[in-house]
């Protein structure tokens, strides 16, 4: 009986370890994707609803 329970615990540990690794990999993947998107994502600044002089070419040209 004890041996049977031990095997089940071992299997549960294996499953939890597997799930843990999957979650860590998922976090790493989302982080990596974010880094790639942000470093290449030039139009992203345009969506933050904040006026930025460097994003408004007409104004930038009009200034000194």
């Amino acid at each position: 009986m004890l041996k049977a329970e031990h095997e089940i615990h071992q299997r549960r540990f294996g499953r939890n370890l597997g799930l843990g690794l999957v979650l860590v990999a998922f976090v790493a993947l989302v982080f990596g994707l974010t880094v790639v998107k942000v470093t290449r994502g030039d139009p992203m600044q345009g969506f933050d609803h904040v006026v930025r002089p460097e994003m408004a070419p007409a104004e930038a040209q009009g200034g000194n």
Binding site: A4, E7, I8, G14, R15, L29, G32, L33
Partner: protein
Amino acid sequence: MSDIHANGAMSEAQPGEAGFGDFIALLKPRVMSLVVFTALVGLLVAPVPVHPFVAATCILFIALGGGASGALNMWWDADIDRVMRRTKGRPIPAGKVQPGEALGLGLALSGLSVMMLALAANVQAAALLAFTIFFYVVIYSMWLKRSTPQNIVIGGAAGAFPPMIGWVCATGSVGIEAVLMFTLIFMWTPPHFWALALFMNSDYEKAGVPMLTVTHGKRSTRNHILGYTIALVPFALALGVTSIGGPIYMAVAIALNIGFLIGAVAIWRRDEAKAEADGYRLEKKVFAFSLLYLFLHFGALLAEAALRPWGLGGW
């Protein structure tokens, strides 16, 4: 040695006792490998370059979406999987995973894969992946598989979508090339599966799945294999004259299509007595060749794309 309780055999899975590998098996890893390969080719041959990390993420979630539909298929088909020799070792009929667990995993991974593909690539690709999962699970597994001998024909569309999704990940829209890659797999699926059904007939019969061999007999199945193979050829060759084709693809496609046609004609000319006498040797050979057929067509497309930077690929 065994995970059976000391007080007796355990025929039904208990909640929370499946191993990690059992959940992986629910995702049909072998089918996933074909999804990964064709989706990767679809993505790489597209004219828009994709960052390698983004490309890898796209392929991962297209594969995961395919895996999720596999889990949902196993949940729905657990009753017939128990009957068929080929499938009775699957996690649910083997009593390792509960049907509810498979359903939960399938639904969760479907949502996750579609959402992540939308974030990694674009909404169009994600919508196509969602439709593919819906098509495979609802249209094929729940509806067509048990109701019509044409199940394989229409259900084959689910397996044909991955290269198109890969293409849409890169370009954001569906082009003629993506449609022809889809059609190549779509038209290839019926002769491929019917060749298998010719020598696996007894299993489908036992499970009550209306495979063409069961409902219309093997003579009719042989006719169908030839008919669909002839219909497949123009689509396979047409891909060669699009922007992703080229002389390498064309040479490979001509050779493979001649080979497949010869095999289909040979299957068509055989009668059951001859086939049974040699243990369906020819049918097994054509089935194996059909796998190579698809792999080499997509491999040739990949070769064209790989050689393009050196001015060698394409027309």
